[in-house]
């Protein structure tokens, strides 16, 4: 059996969970074994049904007062207990912040190896996998010698497509948890921004060193707002103090996946590219025809962004009436 971890936030299924289910469905097929899922901290029938839409036959749910909100210790402990009791051949989560954290917690408890951010997995003895290194600029083929293969799939490695829909059964899992597991449960939350955020924005207007100054981002802000999107930036820009780190797109920033990424004045160094490459379409605005971002883009305008962006803003306003 392949056990897929269903990431959720206070009962709302995460896109990462759908990606893990889609990746898991094809992996379970390769293994010629059942696809089942683990839902830790919720037993919501709607989530169970959605897992069924992706082919999960059984969803093991675990509800406990310590699981009132996310906590790496508690979630890792439950997952490790599920592995010990249900004896899956492999466990898969999505390589999101929480997915990698919970899997590492379970791996530490089980003293088992864990391969993070796989893009391709072949079951066997040993298991072999191709995994993301350097944030995606290199791949590593590796092998995993273990009784249970603990894996995460790279974020955005697959599209979150439902398939092989079944009516999933719910099985309640009794976890052995106590107050000590509450040690790292989320204590409080601060919501900084409502509405569309960088990881989920349909349009991202990115700016690099070519924007020239912090003030230069006002035009990108205006365009992003008109298009219902968000502003992003390169690492050079955050290092210069022009934008907060939360706007950074890249290996050490946010991985975006918009319908279109409009990259202005960004050369497209590998560290930035790996955060942008899951974009469905890319439009580059740059004075350098040979810039990496231009070469990799679907469309490009070879010109000074300070002239082009205001013209785009005017044209958008014009058509919106």
């Amino acid at each position: 059996m392949l056990l897929v971890v269903l990431e959720h936030d206070r009962g709302a299924l995460a896109e990462a969970a759908r990606e893990a289910l889609a990746f898991g469905r094809s992996l379970a097929e390769k293994m010629d074994e059942d696809l089942q899922a683990a839902l830790i901290g919720s037993d919501d029938g709607a989530l169970v049904a959605e897992a069924g839409d992706y082919g999960a036959e059984v969803v093991h749910t675990c509800v406990h007062e310590v699981l009132s909100d996310y906590g790496p210790d508690a979630h890792g402990a439950v997952l490790a207990q599920m592995v010990a009791e249900l004896e899956p051949s492999a466990v898969l989560a999505c390589g999101s912040d929480r997915g990698n954290e919970v899997m590492a917690q379970a791996a530490a408890r089980l003293d088992a190896p864990f391969a993070a951010n796989c893009v391709d997995v072949t079951p066997g003895s040993p298991w072999t996998m191709t995994r993301v290194q350097w944030g995606g600029s290199l791949l590593e083929d590796s092998s995993l010698e273990a009784e249970v293969a603990l894996l995460t799939c790279g974020l955005h490695a697959v599209a979150a497509q439902p398939g092989d829909s079944v009516d999933a059964d719910t099985e309640a899992f009794e976890a052995d948890l106590d107050e000590s597991h509450r040690v790292t449960v989320v204590k409080d939350r601060t919501v900084q921004e409502a509405g569309v955020t960088l990881p989920t924005a349909p349009v991202v207007c990115g700016g690099g060193r070519g924007v020239g100054s912090a003030e230069g981002f006002a035009q990108l802000e205006e365009l992003a707002e008109l298009l219902g999107g968000r502003v992003g930036c390169s690492r050079a820009v955050t290092n210069l103090g022009w934008r907060p780190h939360s706007d950074q797109v890249g290996q050490t920033g946010t991985r975006i996946a918009p319908e279109i990424y409009i990259a202005s004045g960004i050369s497209g160094a590998i560290q930035h590219w790996v955060g942008a490459m899951a974009s469905k379409h890319i439009l580059a605005i740059n004075t350098d025809r040979e810039a990496n971002m231009v070469v990799k883009a679907d469309w490009a305008v070879i010109a000074d962004l300070h002239e082009v962006i205001p013209a785009i803003i005017a044209e958008v306003r014009n058509r919106k009436g």
Binding site: A104, S137, L138, K187, R189, T190, V191, I270, R319
Partner: protein
Amino acid sequence: MRILCCVKRVPAPGAKINVTADGSDVDAAHLGFTTSPHEECGVEGAVQLREQHGGEVTVLTVGPPEAAEQLRYAASVGADHGVLIPGDGAWDPQRTAAVIGEAIDVLESEAKELFDLILFGNESADSGGFQVGVRVAHSLRRPIVNGIKGIEVSGDGSGTGTVTARRAIDGGFEVYELPRPCVLGVKEGLNLPRYPTMKGRLRSKKLEIRSLDIDAAQGGQRRIRLHRPPEQVSETVILGDGPDAAVAVVDVLEELGVL
């Protein structure tokens, strides 16, 4: 307060990274090396906490002799002590974690005091295993939270008390409160690391680097080979070379349905 920050020497981010002909490793011939970016912020965070509350900052790395450069760099921005465990940055995560866990035991028993706070990078920039910090924390039976971009300590940060840690989530922050001693996996964005001063550079040259010979058994994960992903080739359509291109650009936006 006693803080330990674990760092890794990695090729500078942004560089094009080549692989040796047999795929066994990264071709280091033309690469500049640096501290993995999350951990550079970890060192800065540790130094800031010491500046506020007093105490000392120790920086530890597992790596080749050249990794002493990263320890000296940390000293140039304010770290007090450097510990180098001779080893290979390509060791598997279980082996690396076992070695670091044992090194921490050695350092704490010698000092007869625990580290109040241990910092790791959320993941190394190169191998990206996302687990060494968690494994070490588990072996020390201390709590850990990853993805941290804000740290505050209760009291003067020493002995019993708490560490309040902020983690960025989509559109906001989660707040965790951990009892000391504890461990955090930090991310770039925790702060903007300072540049070394001339005085700092001079001080770093005098840093006495402690070498600790520790090894551990290999874990279950093994590298077979490294390779480059296929280059994403795109037939870039040039929409224009000036403001006139705006019409074509907005046509594209309309076609994609984002207008």
